[in-house]
Every structure is written in C-alpha cells, then in structure tokens.
C-alpha cells in the first residue's frame, strides 16, 4: 500500500478545513488546530487501480498571530496551498508559505487551490496577482468548499504527481 503525507497550507480562514471536511476520514476535533496547530485527516483514493492513502496534515492558518511549525512539514511528499479568492492578501501568504516549506523540506509536488469559487462576485484575485504563485505550483484548481467543486480533482492531481515523483 502507498501512503503519502501531504500538508495543507494557507492563510487564516481561507477554508482549508472546510475544503477537506466532506472528503476525508477524520477522528480529531478541529480544536487541535488551535492547540497543537495541526489536525490530521485521511483520504483514500485509487490511482490507476492502486490504492493510495493521503495523510493530510491540515496545518493551522498563518496570520500575524500564529505561524506554521516547520517541524510539521517534515516527511511531506506534497503540499496543497490554499488561497481565498475573495482576499488578495492570502495569495501573498501562500507565497511566503511556499518559501518556508521549500526551505524546510525542499521542492515537493505542489497544488495551488483558489477557494471560495462560489463567491465569484467578490473575487479579488486576478491573473496578474496570481502570476508569481502559479510559478510555484505544479497545478492550479478553482474550488468551492460549499459545492465541492474541484476538490477531488485537486487531490487526485497531487496524488498522481507524488507517485510520479517517487517513481511509483
């Protein structure tokens, strides 16, 4: 069986936790994020007939009050960066998190998720703003935690990239 640890990173309240809530097996309360700084969920999927378990470390949102513990990033095979499409500042946070992660564990397959697609009217994040962060991700997805749009595809893409990366 293949197991991969992935980290979900993003600014505070970008909807990381909501994004996975409908798709994962979870036994821990969301309180852990505010206490220990991480909550661990699991998502099983099948890629080319092989089962892969994604162990998702849903790290606490980065803001001026709390920052991501880089020790949690160790051993990660991939990352999902989440940006709130209605708040341009979250793009910047994603960029800084990317820098931090790469410094800590090196370059790993990464997916950029532009969340809150359902709030398109309030959309702030334009192509120009996104250009630098598009560079860091291997794929970009528009998602909505509310409708579930794009979430599966984002995880699948990351899984495939991680498998390719390790030659599995």
């Amino acid at each position: 069986m293949i197991k991969k640890k992935i980290c979900m990173l993003g600014a505070f309240a970008v909807g990381k936790t909501s994004l996975v809530r409908r798709f994962v097996d979870s036994i821990f309360s969301e309180r852990y994020q505010t206490t220990v700084g991480v909550k661990i969920d699991k998502k099983s999927m099948e890629i080319d007939g092989r089962r892969i378990d994604l162990i998702i470390w849903d790290l606490n949102g980065e803001d001026e009050f709390q920052s991501v513990r880089t020790s949690y990033l160790r051993g990660s095979s991939g990352c999902i960066y989440v940006v709130d499409g209605t708040r341009s500042s979250t793009v910047e946070t994603a960029g800084s998190l990317y820098g931090k992660t790469t410094a800590a564990i090196g370059r790993v397959p990464a997916v950029l998720v532009l969340n809150k697609q359902d709030l398109h009217q309030q959309w702030e994040v334009g192509d120009r703003l996104l250009a630098p962060v598009r560079q860091m991700a291997d794929a970009v997805f528009y998602t909505s935690a509310r409708t579930g749009q794009g979430v599966e595809r984002a995880f699948s893409k990351l899984a495939v990239m991680m498998m390719e990366n390790s030659g599995q």
Partner: protein
C-alpha cells in the same frame, strides 16, 4: 623411430631436450619464475597480501565457511589479548558499551523510581490501605503487594511509525481491541511529539511516555528512522521498555535501508507483523474492561450476605445454646460439669438424677430441639427434698391409703396399710439415701386390726357343758362351728415378725364339788373342745388346753361356769 631411440639412447635424450627447449621455452621460463615465487616466502607473503582482502570479501559473499573457520581463531586471539592486556579491549569497546550501559542503568533507575512512585501513590488510597492490610495479613512486604497488584498490563496496540513523516509502516492490535484509524493516530503522535519538542526546545529527545489517566499509557521508542509506539493498558514492567527497544533495534538492523529509502510504500514492512505481535504482551490477567468489577462485586456481595446469614445463624444458635445451658443448670437433679462446642456439635457432660426430667424434653422446651447436642450423663442421687420424696414413693410404693411426708429429713407415713407393706417399707426406708429417719407410727396396720378383731371375737366365745360332766350343752354345736371359723380366720394372717399362732383353750367349772375334781373336770372339758375342733379339721397343735377349775362367784365369773373359753397370745 622406436628402433632409432633404442639404437642410441644418449643421442635421442639430447635431441628431445633440444626439442623441448625449442617448443616450450617461454613456459619453462614461466615455470621457473613461478617456482621461484613459490619458494620465496617474502615474495609469496607480498603476493598473498595483495589478494587476501579481495579473497576474503569474495568468500564471505559466497557462504559462511570462512566465518566458521576464522571464528575459533578470532575467539582465541581475543581471549589471549584480554588476558594479556584487558585495557586494550576496554578502550576498544568503551565507545560502544558506555552509552549502552548508561541507557541500561538509567532505565533500571527509572524502573525503580516508577515502582517507588506507584507505592507512594497507593499509600494513602483506600486501595492502598486494603493492600496494607493484605501485606499485614500475609506477612509480605508492602512493596511486594503493590507490585503484585500493579504489574497487570496488556499491550493493546503497537505502531511502527516512520519517524520523519509520521506514516504508519505497520500496526498490530491485540485480540478484541479496535483502535481508531492507525494512520491518523500515528500522525497525531508524531505531531504531538513535534509540538512538545518545539515548545520545550528539547532537540532530538523524544517523549517516551504519554499517559492517559491511570490506566492507559503510550510508550514510545525512537530509533534512527522509525518510532515504535506501544499503547498499554495497566502498568507494565520496565522490562517491556527493553523489549520495545530491542524490537526496534532488530527492525532497524534488518530494514535500515528500506527505512532510509521509505517513500510511502509500506510493502517492505508488511512482514514485520510477527515481530510486532511479539510485543502484544500481557501479564497475569488481561484486563477485560470496565465491567470486570461486576463479577467480583457480585461474589463479594453473596459472600458477605452468606457470612451475615451464617453469622446471624451462629448468633442465634449461640443464644439458643446459652438458653439451654441456663435451663439445664437451674434444673434440680442435673449438674452440668462441662459444656462445649466441638466439630459443629454441642456437648454437655454432667450428673443426672434418674428422676430428673429428660434433657431432650428440656431441649424441646427451650426451643432448642434442632440443636445437635450430645449428652454424657453419669447417674447420681440428689438430696433435694422433692427428689428424696419422689424416690421414696417410687421405692416404697405406698398404697393409695398411705401418704408420705418429708419433714426435717424425716420421712413419715400416714394412713392405712397392710402389715406386709409396713414391714417392707420400714426395711427399705432404712436404706433410702437422704433420710434422717422414718416414722410409720401413724400408719394403721389393717391386718393387725383385723387379727385383733378376730382375736376379740374368739376370746368372747364360750362353749358350755352340762353340770358335772364333759358333754356339751345342747345347741352348742353351731357355737363350736363359729369358733372353728374364727380360728381359721386367725390362721389366715401371716405376721412374719410375730410368733406363730397359739390359742389357749381354757376349761372352767362351777363352784360346787371339790377343788381337785373341778380342776380335773375343767381340764377334761378343755381337751374335749380341742378334740372337737380337731374333728373340724383344725390342727390340734395350735391349741394349748388348760384347766382353771371353779370360776369364782362374781356375776362375771358365774358366766364362765361350766364353760371353755379361748385366749390368744
């Protein structure tokens, strides 16, 4: 050619040598060179030295024969070396042994502290007090009792975790244990480790124990690549810690490369299942869950109730027993000398007057009929007044016309009785115990009275004769019959304490005639009556005929004239 060689052997040997030189010169030179190298130890040593390492390596890769061959040599060398200079070996192994010893010693001290802590924890709890009582009763040291109770544990789950990613490489759980998703649990272990390390800045040191309440703990051992985590219920011994360490060491030794290269594929670790299951130990009784107290509690309750019932029963039985003893002790005619409870039965020993009431009836009377009592009585005669009287009544058997009384130790009889009873009673009373004397002065001897009445009747009788002769007056026959009848009556009395019956038959005359004649006549008349009575079937020997002569002249005496009267002695 064969013929040629025969003709000149010398020539042909030379020719053959020449031919050999021509044909094999390089080989011959090479052989000479080889021979020189083989003969020269210096050269050979240098050459073997060049290939020795490669040869050893190659042979070691093929099989174990080289190892087996070298082992005795190396052992012997080491042995000699240590004997010669132990210091050298100490220097060699210290870097390896030092940390190992430190780790071992610190683990032992930790173990000791742990048991001391347990002892301290249990000192003041109710359980602790119970255990103290147990120690006191059994004579064991308190620490031994604490250990006996606390060294019950069960390893419920074992996780082999990839240290860097926190991913589960292998997970085993004990029978009946259903844990949460091991991947998530393991991830959280790792996260918490990281969190604590970051928070305390403890560098590479690992949390080795997580405790959940009193009953659950997680023991963690970190190796170079992997973490072994054991979820334990109860309090395990420190030996378990060593087992976990050893297990992890073995895994890292065998799977070090796979662990270093781990990239999410857990397949290489799947067959570690048996190795990890070795850690699913338990000691004494596995804890079966929260309800385990139900059965012991139920048993304890039953035992308590039974004990209470038994106690109540014993209490009641004891009270009955005491009541019975009191009754027995207050009973005249019974003296209890020993009362005891032996082998579940009761025993009463003592003296009992045969006239005292039956002890079994006393037992029933004080509601102790069910009490199992064995009696051991010895007979005795009590001097109590009612007993003496009753005993006298039983022995003397007085007729209904006689009443017995006991006053001041003297037994008195009153009433009417036969002569034989009076005589017998007098004899028996003299031997009756508890009597100061016997008085039957107020018992009327009915036989004697009747006898005396008959005597009176006989003595009032007179048989009359004709004047001057020994012939009976006419009509005296019935009178004589009466006399015979009375004599027969008298004969019917038997007074053993009195002389035999003897009846005086006394003849009388009137005053006429001479004295001498009258005496003879009166005697003849008496003899005549005796012979007449004998003729009526009476024994002549009973009678004593006497002649008294003339009976005087007074009016009473005149009635006796010419008669025969009777007297009884």
């Amino acid at each position: 050619m064969a013929g040629g060689m025969d003709s000149n052997p010398e020539d042909s040997r030379e020719a053959f040598g020449l031919l050999r030189q021509l044909l094999l010169k390089p080989e011959i030179e090479k052989l000479a060179e080889i021979s020189r190298r083989l003969d020269d130890p210096e050269v050979r040593a240098a050459e073997v030295g060049q290939i020795l390492a490669a040869a050893l390596r190659r042979q070691a890769a093929v099989d174990d024969r080289l190892c087996l061959a070298l082992r005795p040599l190396i052992e012997k060398t080491l042995y000699n070396s240590v004997r010669k200079n132990p210091r050298a070996l100490v220097d060699i192994i210290f870097p390896v042994m030092g940390p190992a010893l430190r780790k071992s010693v610190s683990a032992a001290i930790m173990g000791m502290i742990q048991s001391l802590n347990q002892m301290a924890n249990h000192c003041l709890t109710i359980r602790g007090i119970k255990w103290r009582l147990e120690a006191w009763k059994s004579g064991k040291p308190f620490s031994a009792v604490v250990l006996a109770h606390t060294l019950l544990f069960r390893v419920e789950q074992v996780f082999l975790i990839h240290a860097e990613s926190g991913l589960v490489l292998q997970h085993v759980a004990a029978e009946g244990v259903s844990g949460k998703d091991p991947d998530l649990v393991s991830g959280m272990f790792t996260a918490i480790q990281d969190f604590v390390k970051d928070a305390l800045g403890s560098g590479s040191e690992l949390i080795d124990t997580l405790r959940l309440g009193n009953q659950r703990s997680i023991w963690l051992e970190q190796g170079r690549y992997a973490i072994l985590a054991a979820v334990i219920r109860g309090t395990p011994p420190m030996d378990l810690r060593h087992d976990i360490q050893d297990c992890l060491d073995r895994i890292e030794a065998v799977r070090g490369q796979a662990l270093a290269a781990f990239d999410g594929d857990t397949a290489p670790f799947e067959n570690l299942d048996a190795e990890l299951r070795g850690l699913l130990q338990f000691q004494a009784r596995p804890e079966t869950g929260r309800r385990t107290w139900l059965l012991p509690a139920a048993i304890a309750t039953l035992v308590t109730l039974a004990a209470l019932a038994l106690g109540l029963n014993r209490y009641q039985e004891n009270r009955t027993w005491q009541r019975l003893l009191e009754r027995l002790r207050s009973q005249p005619g019974i003296i209890v000398t020993r009362a005891a409870r032996e082998d579940g039965r009761y025993l009463v020993e003592g003296l009992r007057d045969p006239l005292a009431p039956d002890p079994e009836s006393i037992k029933s009377a004080c509601r102790a009929a069910k009490l199992p009592v064995d009696w051991r009585w010895k007979a005795y005669w009590t001097m109590d007044r009612p007993f003496v009287l009753k005993r006298a009544e039983l022995l003397l058997k007085p007729p209904p016309s006689v009443r017995l009384l006991l006053e001041g130790g003297i037994l008195s009889a009153r009433g009417y009785a036969s002569h034989s009873w009076i005589v017998r009673a007098r004899r028996l009373a003299s031997v009756l115990p508890g009597l100061a004397g016997y008085n039957d002065g107020q018992v009327v001897d009915q036989d004697l009275v009747a006898f005396q009445k008959a005597v009176q009747r006989l003595e009032s009788k007179a048989i009359y004769f004709v004047k001057g002769g020994i012939d009976l007056d006419p009509g005296q026959e019935p009178n004589l019959d009466d006399v015979a009848s009375i004599v027969r009556t008298l004969q019917g009395f038997d007074f053993p304490d009195r002389p035999g019956l003897n009846i005086a038959v006394i003849g009388h005359t009137d005053v006429s005639g001479t004295e001498k004649f009258n005496l003879a006549l009166s005697r003849l008349r008496a003899e005549k009556v005796v012979s007449l009575l004998a003729a009526r079937g009476l024994e002549a020997g009973l009678f004593n005929p006497l002649g008294l002569g003339p009976a005087g002249t007074g009016s009473e005496s005149q009635a006796l004239w010419r008669s025969v009267t009777f007297g009884v002695r």
